[in-house]
């Protein structure tokens, strides 16, 4: 439920698919998708476990997206994406969503790339902020009460 899954097939060998995804990350990542307040000049994925995943703005400022949790070329890559409700990096690992990318050879010239962005529910700062209309969790609570009330109502009518 709280994960997003995608599978694409690419017409290159598995090691090349992994290389394009990681080393060439900056060449293909859509520049519109960034976190920093200034336009993005470069998106960087450091090629090692514990590496940084971040953007560099046109003014030279840097903005973290997450860290590299697993670096297993050419088969697997896991990075975190930890952004809070103010669209900023949240350093608390408990608030980190994860992106796992698996590269599987499907013949010598074809690779299946499976991506899963999971633990979206861990981005609870995001939820809190979105929910902070009338204080902490205000709206979520009200909506839950409303839902309970309407369900009760429905039961009574039935």
């Amino acid at each position: 439920m709280n994960s997003i899954q995608r599978t694409v097939t690419v017409q290159v060998p598995v090691d090349r698919a992994f290389r394009v995804f990681t080393e060439r990350f900056d060449t293909w990542w859509p520049p519109a998708y960034h976190i920093g307040t200034v336009d993005m000049a470069e998106a960087i994925l450091e090629p090692k476990e514990g590496g940084r995943w971040y953007e560099r703005g046109v003014d030279g400022s840097e903005c973290e997206w997450g860290v590299v949790l697993a670096w297993d070329p050419p088969g697997r890559l896991v990075v975190t994406w930890q952004i809070n409700g103010e669209w900023q990096f949240d350093p608390d690992p408990a608030h980190a969503s994860e992106i796992e990318v698996r590269f599987t050879a499907d013949g010598p010239q074809q690779t299946v790339v499976e991506l899963e962005h999971r633990y979206l529910e861990r981005l609870d700062h995001f939820q809190e902020l979105l929910g902070a209309i009338g204080g902490e969790g205000g709206w979520l609570k009200i909506l839950a009460q409303f839902r309970d009330a309407s369900e009760q109502d429905a039961t009574q009518t039935a």
């Binding site: 962005h117 979520l140 909506l143």
Partner: protein
């Protein structure tokens, strides 16, 4: 995938709407505040807000004389819709990049 996600996907395909969505993620804002930060007119902002509201991604509340817009408090749904869009675009771009890589190698060899 639920209808919610589908609605979000289509809605955030428009760059102006995505910009509005991202601005509202940072801070709840009025139409005027959004228009001041975007290269589009106030009526255009209003129109996009209406579409986002109809799609369930944005809610509005009256604060005195102003109407303030913010992301739907059902945060995961709004975030999901956004990330669905991000990964669709990103993986399409990645696929294209691998094609380029092939061409480059072919010319190298």
């Amino acid at each position: 995938m639920g209808t919610y996600g589908d609605a979000g996907l289509g809605l955030l395909g428009d760059p102006s709407r995505r910009a509005i969505f991202e601005l509202l993620a940072r801070r709840p804002s009025s139409v005027g505040e959004l228009a001041a930060q975007l290269p589009i007119s106030r009526p255009a902002v209003s129109q996009h807000l209406r579409a986002l509201k109809d799609g369930g991604l944005v809610v509005d509340t009256a604060e005195g004389t102003r109407r303030v817009y913010r992301l739907n408090p059902d945060g995961v749904a709004a975030l999901r819709a956004y990330l669905d869009r991000v990964w669709d675009d990103a993986l399409t771009a990645f696929q294209k990049a691998t094609l380029n890589e092939n061409t480059e190698d072919a010319t190298d060899e």
